[in-house]
């Protein structure tokens, strides 16, 4: 009797381009990015780190609502989004607001999403995306559908979705990758493995050594990538996107990453389930630090440049919060309006009732 698990698992090795010291360890796979593009990637990571810091502060002041911190995951989030085109369709999880922002969701709308205002979910024209999914894994089965739709339309695009390590335990995870595989649909399934699903460590989620290997069961490509290495994430995304568009099917991409902060700002205390040593170990792998080293050694990035981005981010955040503050408050009649194309009898009555209440 032949046992294959060990040999299958040993095939999954972490893909990396830039090591922790900012040195290129894999020249062959270095993506073809101009200096301007490399700087833009850095700019976005710095900007997003500042946005995270400000969002946490605003949340503590009671000026933001639901917020899932992103620091530590910038390379996974932004490296992947950077390889996408406008025609691609993003189905994010709730920590994946940065990808929406860089795909074109205005910052003030991201703040309105956090506050629980539906305008935060109204994607502007040309931004192909859903608002962040709350049910873990639901976006995976939907992505199979969007990808099949893209294939049926003959569009040269992909459907892209994100979940975390915990998400891979859901039935929808398997159904999503299996459906997309069965239809050879152009989908990219990202698993941002930050090692903890709120508090439960990934070792307790599964006996699988890697999450990428779960692709094998669905008969699709799977790859594990250093999620703190923005160049590696970009390269893997670009490669998988090209394959998907060429009709070669979906890919499951596991990015190894870490969230420095709590699960969300609603009372999670990571010291209950993570050690300081572990935090320190991961901060040494920081995506911004290593990419900054790489760019500085190339002579295309400086402290001055970085400070400019920080100032720009702080300014824009301030403006966006102001705009979010000024945006009209929601009314129950808005909600009723958004239920159906034509209001049925019960909602017509309730519309009249609330119109009267709101006129007082």
């Amino acid at each position: 009797m032949k046992h294959v698990l060990e040999s299958v698992e040993s095939q999954f090795e972490m893909f990396q381009i830039l090591n922790e010291d900012g040195k290129i360890v894999n020249k062959d796979d270095m993506p073809d990015l101009s200096d301007e593009e490399l700087k833009e990637l850095m700019r976005r990571m710095v900007y997003t780190r500042i946005l995270d810091q400000r969002s946490i502060a605003l949340n503590r002041q009671g000026r933001l609502g639901f917020y899932a911190p992103t620091a530590g995951q910038e390379a996974s989030q932004l490296g992947s989004q950077f390889a996408l085109e406008k025609d691609d369709f993003i189905l994010p999880g709730y920590r994946d607001v940065p990808q929406l922002i860089w795909q074109g969701l205005p910052l003030y709308q991201a703040f309105l999403f956090s506050r629980g205002h539906f305008h935060g979910n109204q994607m502007p024209e040309g931004v192909n995306a859903l608002s962040p999914q709350i049910i873990i894994g639901a976006q995976y089965v939907q992505t199979a559908g969007v990808a099949l739709g893209i294939k049926k339309r003959g569009r040269k695009a992909v459907a892209v979705t994100y979940t975390g390590d915990g998400g891979t335990s859901q039935g929808d995870f398997y159904e999503g990758i299996n459906f997309a595989g069965a239809y050879k649909a152009p989908a990219l399934f990202f698993v941002q493995n930050n090692y903890f699903a709120i508090s439960v460590p990934v070792e307790k989620q599964t006996n699988a050594k890697t999450l990428a290997q779960k692709a094998v069961a669905a008969g699709i490509e799977g790859i594990q990538v250093d999620g703190m290495d923005v160049l590696a994430v970009y390269a893997v995304t670009k490669h998988s996107r090209d394959r998907a568009i060429n009709g070669e099917g979906p890919t499951l991409i596991e990015t190894l990453t870490y969230r420095y902060g709590p699960h969300t700002m609603a009372g999670d205390d990571p010291t209950r389930y993570r050690t300081e040593d572990l935090d320190n170990e991961w901060e040494k792998k920081d995506p911004l630090v290593r990419f900054r080293t790489f760019l500085e050694e190339k002579g295309i990035w400086s402290e001055e440049e970085e400070n400019k981005v920080i100032e720009e981010a702080k300014n824009e955040i301030k403006q966006a919060i102001k705009k979010a503050d000024e945006y009209p408050k929601q009314k129950v009649t808005d909600f009723i309006e958004n239920m159906f194309e034509e209001l049925p009898h019960n909602l017509q009555e309730q519309m009249e009732e609330y119109k009267e209440k709101e006129s007082k």
Partner: protein
Amino acid sequence: MAQMTMIQAITDAMRTELKNDENVLVFGEDVGQNGGVFRATEGLQDEFGEERVFDTPLAESGIGGLAVGLALEGFRPVPEIQFFGFVYEVMDSISGQLARMRYRSGGHHTAPVTIRSPFGGGVHTPELHADSLEGLIAQQPGIKVVIPSNPYDAKGLLISAIRDNDPVLFLEHMKLYRSFREEVPEEEYTVEIGKAEVKREGTDVTLISYGAMVHASLKAAEELEKDGVSAEVIDLRTVSPIDIDTIIESVKKTNHVVVVQEAQRQAGVSANVVAEIQERAILHLEAPVLRVTAPDTVYSFSAAEEVWLPNHNDIVEKVNTVLNF
């Protein structure tokens, strides 16, 4: 005009809309070459090709997710859930996702999806095939729930459902699939969603029901007529939203009401009908509104369905109680 069974009328409705709108897609378990386990999609794959009518892997949540995603790409999906007892596997896609799409996105995205599914007792299926679970979905704002009682309505309502720009759950009572034929126009027509129909006019009591229980109610009305009782029978046809106006108009005429449903009593559609009547027409009532339902047990083991399901005798008995109050 042709004589059609309800299943033929349903196939005809899908064929009509597959022809009318290239965005219509029909999919589910065994719906392709096999034509569905009840043959509802018989011949459709041959006629419209595998791009339009196709099999899915065996996973209801996946089918629901596929419908959500295809709708986002501008298609008009018509997925089949093979038996509605399997709805628990796809509850999130229906109630958590499709029904909320327009609301959640502030009108930016819509979900013009029609979920078709067989349900209903009396055909001796294994467990979790026959349950009347319309109340589960009727409680979810954002999706309509339609249940035809005859071939003519089935075709017209299904065409309306597929053309609707919001999600519709279309429940097909298995016992009605082939129990009788009636004249159904071969050309296209629609029956309005959210509109009940007075199936039989009467003056003494109103029987309100839907699905297979419409036929039990009509049979009860015939029996009652022999005793000189004139019963009006209303077929709701849509259980969410409910056509209040048709109900109230009848209540004002007969002043006596019995609501009939195949589902168990607790928390269902009939309770909602009773609540609406007492809120809007209590002074027109000469007796409490009573209900005929299945008991609040888990759905019957199949060998005992006859004693578990409500029938026309139960209805006659309740009508007599109401009239003698």
